[in-house]
Amino acid sequence: MELKNTDLSDAALEAHLRRSLASPALPNEFRSRLLTRMVSEPVDAQARAALEQEWRRTQERLLAESIQLRRQTLLWLLGGAFAAGAITMAAMPWVTAHFGARWSVWVPVAVAALGLVASWVGDPRVRRALASIG
């Protein structure tokens, strides 16, 4: 029994350590800031030329990535708006027939209430309380 408790404690500690000490990602634009800093350092001519070349390459890559990201975001927004409009148009007759003319008020309210209840039930303390009642 003692061994079992120790194993459980070891496994739990290990899991929490793994979660707490997740490997950190490099800060955004770390390389860009590093190269800017390197360029201002006193180094020999060959090293300086290499740094400047790498710095220019990084700047070009960052610019290209930013343009690509903006394009993707715009496409997602347009696509999402179009899809939402199309779904609403297609579903409106069916929703009106099933939920009445005032569906646009109470269906969103019901969905929001459902979401709130779901997040409340998802809380570990509430789950423990429900389990103890059950």
Binding site: L17, A22, F30, L34, Q46, A47, E54
Partner: protein, 189 residues
């Protein structure tokens, strides 16, 4: 040292010999910048401070690369520069005082209601309060995909020493959790 690191080191040194310093720099940063940064995070904890010291280390490495004599492996040299930078940065601060502050604060927050404690946050703060000789290896161990060999290489010490310090760090954490009344894992979220 992993086979991948060894191959990268050889490539960097070959590029240096050919005078292709920009390619050498690109390879060096691709392979080492994240590793050096993680090492600085493990030593220094603070994100901004770690970034600053990681950049200082990489600049020092870059400036020293043309004169690197190959007596040790390139990775060993890189990590020893980083380690020295971190130790120099740390020498101005006393980690033990921070540790005591964190423990007092945690004891106040959690003594009453262990079930309300956020385990991840508590563990994070307890690790942060460990003495450097335990905190750095245990942090690096999880940062580096739980590889004892990688940690030993970063810290420039034998694998056995790392294993011992990891085991003592865990024991210390368990003892501190017990002392705070948080040793019963069934109460945790």
């Amino acid at each position: 040292m992993t086979a991948q690191t060894q191959a990268i080191d050889e490539t960097i040194l070959a590029l240096r010999e050919q005078g292709r310093m920009e390619d050498a720099l690109a390879r060096l940063l691709d392979h080492y910048e994240a590793r050096v940064y993680r090492m600085c995070r493990a030593f220094l904890r603070d994100e901004t401070w770690a970034e600053d010291v990681a950049q200082q280390s990489l600049i020092r490495i870059w400036k020293g690369l043309p004169g690197f004599d190959g007596r040790a492996a390139l990775s060993t040299w890189i990590y020893s520069i980083t380690r020295n930078r971190c130790n120099t940065a740390l020498s101005g601060r006393r980690g033990d005082e921070l540790g005591d502050e964190v423990l007092v604060q945690l004891a106040d927050e959690n003594a009453v209601d262990p079930s309300g404690a956020d385990a991840t946050s508590v563990i994070e703060q307890l690790v942060s309060a460990l003495p450097d000789k335990y905190r750095v290896p245990i942090t690096l161990y999880y940062f580096e995909d739980e590889s004892v060999t990688e940690v030993a290489e970063r810290l420039g010490c034998p694998v056995g020493t790392v294993k011992t310090n990891l085991s003592r760090a865990r024991a210390e954490l368990r003892a501190r959790l017990d002392a705070m009344g948080l040793g019963d894992w069934t109460l945790w979220n």
